[in-house]
Every structure is written in structure tokens, then in C-alpha cells.
């Protein structure tokens, strides 16, 4: 519709809905200087322009004009309608934005830039900044709760390790934590785990570290136990529990906003981004804890290579359990689900440990 046509238009065909029944009456709205006349077969009314309210433009849909007496007119979108009082000013601006394809393109670019920047830099940096400023008390309380829960659910049983062995590990642990800022919070617990958990170690929120009997028995030297413990101390020292919760929930919140529209039509795939992002953050934390451990081990006079040794033994043990086939021999890197894993690929961790030790892998 060009400007000339707009100016010469003096009447608009409308459907008039009085609001008493869902039956409409075809009518004509005739414009003059400051008033509009509504002429139908049963209707003859006149309204001042200022009394009318026009619904916002949305796509190519018909628009509505609210009348002061509660009636309503439906009519096709028309440039003339923009000159009447609008029901919502903000929506008028947004409706204009929606019509500019440049805005849409810039929006896509902004969105992508914002998400990529937030994911790689903004969110981790924000969590790293906030985490040390959150009081420790609640985390310790949470850690106690988690341990009680794990004990109650029979995932853990009391340790069966001989007392001298436990004492030796505790001594190593105390040597490791000696001058760390978190030393007073760090605390070691021994538990025998169910076979499902097996050889493992956990850093609970607040500074409690749980070492399973199976893991203690898997190690072949005090240095190897220290390597495992140093990694878990890294999680505590770097406040990974809290940072994981912070980053994970913000990522979930953003993802929910982004995929909200598609949640009913995409099935499962809309949940995928959160899963991937959280797993990727989790792998980042594992790498950070590894780096922390390598550094701590070196400062205590151990070689990070012991970490590689114990990881290798752990990997062999797990593979024995899952009865490796020839195709799998090529290594864990071919695991098709590694991008969903919470831990980095073991081979990568072993290589990084050897690199940190300055020793190139001989085999």
C-alpha cells in the first residue's frame, strides 16, 4: 500500500463484535478528521479517535480495534491503524523491529557471540569470582549430609583397611595439605565401596575427601595414594562443587530460555545443550584439578608421573571388568560417548601427567 492510497482511504471494512454473542456484524468504519463512524445494518455509532485502542501489529494477522463501549472491531492490517491510539506502545516498537531483517541478522550474531563468550569466558570467570566469596559453612553442612546419605544408602561400608595402612595414608594426606589455604577444612574418610563404585575417590563439598578401600589397595606406593589425594584436594581448593553448581544452573537457565519454544516439539534434543555444556564444564574442572595435583606433587618432591601410573592401572582394571574386545583395544579415545563424559579421556590425562613430569612416555 503506497502513501497516496493510504491518504485517500476513508473507509475500512470491519467485523463488529458487540461481545454479547460470538456472532459478528459486517460494518464499515468511515474516517473523518478526528472521528470514526461505524455503519452496519444494525449499528450506527460515532467515536472520537482518542477513544479507540488498536491491538499491536503481529505478523500478517488481522488486528482489533477496541471500542469504548466494550465492543470490538476486527479488520485487516492497514497503515491507517498506526495513526490511532495503540493498546501497547512497547509492542509497537518491537513489531517494527521484527519487520527489519537486518535486526534479525544482528540478533542472531549477537546471540551467537553472547553464548560463545558466556560459555567459554563469562560464566567460568563469574563462577570463579563468586565462589571464594561464598561462605564455607553451608558447604561443610552439605558435605556432612552427602556422606550420611551415601552411608545410609549402603553405597559405603566401614573401611576394612588395616589401621597402620590408614595411618600411613593419613600422614601422607597431612603432609600434602600442610601449607594449603584450605588445610583446616581438608579431612580424609575411608570407606569400603560397593562394587558399582569400586576403586574411586571423592571430594565432597566442604572439604571431606573419601577414599575407597579398593582405590587404596590398587595403589602400589605412598606416592600413588598422594597423587589421587592431590587431585581431590584440587577440587576442594578450587571450590569446584560450588562452581559446578553455579555454572551448571546458569547454563540450564539460559538453555531453558533458549529452547523454551521448542521444548514440546523437539523431544529430548532440547535437553542436549545443557547436558553437553555441563559435561564440558565438568571435564574442565577435572583438568584443573589434575594441574593442581601435578603442581602440588612437584612441590612435595613427587613426580606427576605417579599419577599417570595409577591412572593406567585404574584403566586396566576397569577394562578387565568390561571384558575388552579387539576393537576397543585401540583405546578409550574411540569411546563414542566421550563427549557426554564427566571426565576427560584417561589417555589424555595420563599424557598430561607425563608431560608435567617432563618424562616422555616410553611405551
Amino acid at each position: 500500500m503506497n502513501t497516496l492510497a493510504m491518504l485517500t482511504t476513508t473507509s475500512v471494512q470491519v467485523l463488529y463484535f458487540a461481545g454479547q454473542t460470538p456472532q459478528g456484524e459486517a460494518a464499515t468504519l468511515i474516517w473523518s478528521e478526528r472521528t470514526a463512524k461505524l455503519i452496519g445494518r444494525r449499528t450506527d455509532a460515532q467515536y472520537a479517535w482518542s477513544q479507540l485502542r488498536v491491538s499491536p501489529r503481529v505478523g500478517s494477522a488481522d488486528r482489533f480495534i477496541a471500542l469504548p463501549d466494550g465492543g470490538q472491531l476486527q479488520c485487516a492490517d492497514h497503515a491507517l491503524l498506526d495513526r490511532l491510539p495503540q493498546e501497547s506502545r512497547t509492542e509497537g516498537v518491537v513489531a517494527w523491529l521484527e519487520r527489519q531483517w537486518g535486526v534479525a541478522l544482528v540478533s542472531v550474531a549477537l546471540l551467537v557471540a553472547g553464548l560463545v563468550g558466556g560459555y567459554f569466558y563469562g560464566l567460568p570467570a563469574a563462577a570463579e569470582y563468586i565462589a571464594p566469596r561464598v561462605p564455607m559453612n553451608y558447604e561443610q553442612y552439605l558435605g556432612e549430609q552427602s556422606l550420611t546419605m551415601l552411608d545410609n544408602q549402603a553405597l559405603f561400608r566401614p573401611t576394612k583397611l588395616p589401621a597402620p595402612m590408614r595411618q600411613r595414608i593419613l600422614d601422607d594426606f597431612h603432609r600434602l595439605r600442610a601449607d594449603l589455604p584450605s588445610a583446616s577444612r581438608l579431612h580424609l574418610e575411608f570407606r569400603e565401596a560397593t562394587p558399582a563404585i569400586g576403586a574411586n575417590a571423592f571430594a565432597l563439598p566442604g572439604g571431606t575427601i573419601v577414599l575407597t578401600d579398593q582405590m587404596a589397595l590398587l595403589t602400589q606406593s605412598p606416592e600413588e595414594v598422594s597423587a589421587i589425594l592431590a587431585h581431590e584436594i584440587g577440587h576442594v581448593e578450587l571450590r569446584h562443587t560450588l562452581r559446578h553448581v553455579l555454572q551448571g544452573s546458569v547454563a540450564a537457565l539460559v538453555a531453558a530460555t533458549l529452547t523454551g519454544d521448542a521444548s514440546g516439539v523437539g523431544l529430548v534434543v532440547t535437553g542436549l545443550p545443557v547436558l553437553l555444556v555441563q559435561a564440558s564444564y565438568s571435564r574442565d574442572f577435572e583438568r584443573q584439578a589434575d594441574d593442581f595435583a601435578f603442581d602440588l606433587l612437584k612441590r612435595r618432591g613427587y613426580s606427576p608421573a605417579v599419577f599417570a601410573n595409577v591412572m593406567e592401572r585404574l584403566e586396566r582394571k576397569r577394562d578387565d571388568k568390561t571384558r575388552k574386545s579387539t576393537a576397543q583395544e585401540q583405546g578409550a579415545q574411540s569411546n563414542p560417548l566421550s563427549f557426554l563424559s564427566s571426565h576427560p579421556v584417561t589417555k589424555e590425562r595420563i599424557a598430561r601427567a607425563r608431560a608435567a613430569a617432563g618424562v616422555t612416555s616410553g611405551n
Binding site: 479488520c75 485487516a76 523491529l97 549430609q145 516439539v265 523431544l267 576393537a327 574411540s334
Partner: protein, 391 residues
């Protein structure tokens, strides 16, 4: 059959002039909006006092809902909404919701009149803030204070019927057709009785009663909806619900056996990629089952719902819907989400255009009532906790 969905009339309404039926001489249009316009309209009697001779009072007219939204048109709306929501740290999302709802409503037309969304952003924002606060409490509890979780869940259980009732009321009262709003008048106690009374039965029957529980809830929702003083009627039985779930269960068990077996077989002999085979088979079955429940239950519910003289015919197909979901998922993954508007629009279009409104007599029996305001809090809580029990 009526001419309401013939392509020419749809095309005409997209240009700057009025929809085609509005351009006809006023004398011929009186019964246009009564869903009774046999084509061509010009053959209609010109006298308003005489009813059209070919329209006996007991005959039923079917009018299909038409969805006029397009992905091309919705894309900028979607992207602008997202951008402004992220930039304002979520505050704009209330305005975005109005905009989105308005788009979907006003491009859904019945007999050439669009539906209207009347929700206002500020009440929605208030509702959202309250809902987010509740969600924060829930989140903090599950993450940090697990021992108090039972109390929070108890509070949520007490609150749930209120959320259901308020959400339905908000959605109904801020939805309008032809200048008349819908209504929902369920009360807290009545909702509580239906939700928990029948839930007890479900637990006692070890879950088999789920279908009957769901059927009672749907019946409760439908019969408390109204339009123009006419309340909904609901005649679907729990047995019909059960049959759909039974079929879905069979498919899922079959897929579990086939997918699991195949996956383990490949895993044992060849490679870890057996996991993928299992995942793909189970996902395909999940897709099919989801589409099955959506289509079959949707059809059951609509085909057994009446609103005064208005009945409905829903003709959703399981395979077609499963195909739409499947291609949506592919498109969303391949485009990293940029095809969201396309996926949303085509799904909505299919679902809308498989719904037909059946009318006996004319619409004059619906009488408009006054409007009542209702806070958006319930609706927003329902949305954030995914507590959608409406139609």
C-alpha cells in the same frame, strides 16, 4: 462444505485489504460469522430474519481451524524475543511471552476470525518473579539442604491444585474469541479432591489406575471450562486412556528388548558403537510412543469434548506426528537450534489444522458475560514447574 478454508479467501486476507468475506455486500454477510456459510456466499438469502433454507437446525457443520503462521514470519519475532530476554537478564521474557502468544493466537483462525490473547506483560512478570522465587527455594533445597526436601515437597503438593486452577483460569480468561473471553471456574478444594483422591486409587492399583486418574483430571478441567455461559462436557472414559497407554507400553517394551538386545549383541562382538544402535532404537521408540500418546489421547479428548452445541473432531495421525517430531529433532540439531521457529510453526500448524469444530444450529446460544481479572502467578508457576494439565 463451507468455504472458510478455500485458498483464495486465505490469500485475500494477507494483502492490505480486508479479508474477502468482509468485502462482500453487508446484506450477504450476516450469517458468515455463524460458521454456516455454504459456498458461494453470494447465494445466501439476503433477509436477515429468514434463516438460510439449506441450514436445518439439527444439521451439523464442520469448520476447520486454520493456522496462518509461517516460519519466515515467526523467525524475527522469535529471535528478537530471545535477544531482548537475554540482554535484560530475563525481565523481557514476560513481554516476549505476550508477543509469542499473540502471534500464535492471532494466526489461528476459526471462520476467518483470529483468536485473541489478552494477557498483559506486567502481571506475567510478577507471576514469573514469584515462580522463580519458588523455583530458587526448590533448587537450593535439592542442592544444599536435602534434609528439608520432604517439607518443601509437601508444601508443593499442597500448592499444586492452586497452581493448576489458577493457571487454567488465567489462560482461559485471557483468551478470547469474537470479543468473548473463555472462563475456568474450578476451585482449590474441588481440584484437590480430583488430583489426590484419584491419585490414591492410582497408588493402590500399582499405577494401573493412572489412566483413570488422568481421565478424571481431564474431565475436571474440561467441565470447568466455559465459553459464553456454556460449560464443557467430557465423555471420554478411563478405558480409552488406558488402551492408548497399553499400546504405548507394548511399543516401549518391544523397543527395549530389540534395542537392548541388538546393542549388547554388537557391543559384545564388534565395537562400542553398539551403544549407539541401542540409543537410536530406544530414541525412535520414544519418539513413536510420544507421538502415539499425543495423537491418540488428543483425538480421544477432543472427540469427546463438547461446548454447548459445539463438538470437535480431531484427526491427528500417529505416524505423521512422529515424522514431524523426528524431522524437528533433526532440524534442530543440524541448525543448532536456529530452525526452532520452523519446528514450532509446522507442529502447531499440523495440530491446529487437524481440529475441526462441529456446530449444530447457530452460535446465538453463547452469551457473553463480564470479564474477571485473575493474577498470572498461578499460570507462571504452572509453566516453570511444567504443570500443564489444560487441554
Amino acid at each position: 462444505m463451507p468455504a472458510d478454508i478455500d485458498p483464495s479467501s486465505a490469500a485475500a486476507s494477507t494483502d492490505a485489504s480486508a479479508p474477502s468475506h468482509l468485502l462482500q455486500p453487508a446484506s450477504s454477510v450476516t450469517s458468515q460469522s455463524d460458521f454456516q456459510s455454504p459456498s458461494p456466499p453470494i447465494s445466501q438469502p439476503t433477509s436477515q430474519s429468514t434463516p438460510p433454507p439449506n441450514t436445518a437446525a439439527e444439521s451439523t457443520h464442520g469448520v476447520k481451524l486454520v493456522f496462518r503462521g509461517t516460519a519466515r514470519e515467526y523467525f524475527p519475532i522469535w529471535i528478537v524475543n530471545l535477544c531482548l530476554s537475554l540482554v535484560t537478564l530475563g525481565i523481557y521474557s514476560a513481554w516476549a511471552k505476550v508477543r509469542r502468544k499473540r502471534y500464535f493466537y492471532s494466526h489461528t483462525t476459526l471462520d476467518d476470525t483470529p483468536f485473541q490473547y489478552l494477557g498483559k506483560p506486567v502481571p506475567i512478570l510478577k507471576g514469573r518473579i514469584i515462580a522463580v522465587a519458588f523455583f530458587a527455594i526448590y533448587w537450593t533445597t535439592t542442592n544444599f539442604f536435602l534434609s528439608t526436601l520432604p517439607w518443601v515437597l509437601l508444601a508443593a503438593a499442597i500448592l499444586a491444585p492452586w497452581v493448576v486452577v489458577r493457571a487454567a483460569a488465567f489462560n482461559a480468561r485471557y483468551s478470547a474469541f469474537r470479543n468473548m473471553t473463555f472462563d475456568f471456574n474450578g476451585s482449590y478444594w474441588s481440584a484437590l479432591k480430583v488430583i489426590y483422591g484419584w491419585a490414591v486409587l492410582m497408588i493402590l492399583t500399582l499405577g494401573i489406575g493412572f489412566s483413570w486418574w488422568q481421565q478424571r483430571i481431564k474431565r475436571y478441567m474440561v467441565t470447568h471450562y466455559s465459553f459464553g455461559g456454556e460449560a464443557g462436557e467430557f465423555t471420554a472414559t478411563g478405558g480409552q486412556f488406558f488402551f492408548t497407554y497399553f499400546l504405548a507400553g507394548l511399543v516401549m517394551i518391544g523397543a527395549g528388548v530389540v534395542g537392548g538386545g541388538l546393542g549388547f549383541a554388537i557391543l559384545a562382538t564388534q565395537s562400542r558403537y553398539g551403544i549407539w544402535v541401542g540409543v537410536v532404537v530406544i530414541y525412535a521408540a520414544y519418539l513413536l510412543v510420544f507421538a502415539m500418546i499425543r495423537a491418540r489421547l488428543g483425538n480421544t479428548i477432543w472427540n469427546h469434548t463438547r461446548l454447548g452445541a459445539v463438538g470437535f473432531r480431531s484427526t491427528l495421525g500417529v505416524r505423521k506426528l512422529a515424522w514431524i517430531y523426528f524431522t524437528n529433532a533433526l532440524g534442530l540439531v543440524a541448525s543448532l537450534g536456529l530452525l526452532t521457529p520452523w519446528a514450532v510453526i509446522r507442529t502447531l500448524k499440523y495440530r491446529t489444522e487437524n481440529l475441526e469444530v462441529l456446530l449444530q444450529g447457530d452460535l446465538s446460544q453463547f452469551a457473553g458475560g463480564g470479564r474477571t481479572a485473575v493474577a498470572a502467578t498461578g499460570a507462571e508457576m504452572g509453566e516453570i514447574f511444567d504443570l500443564d494439565l489444560s487441554l
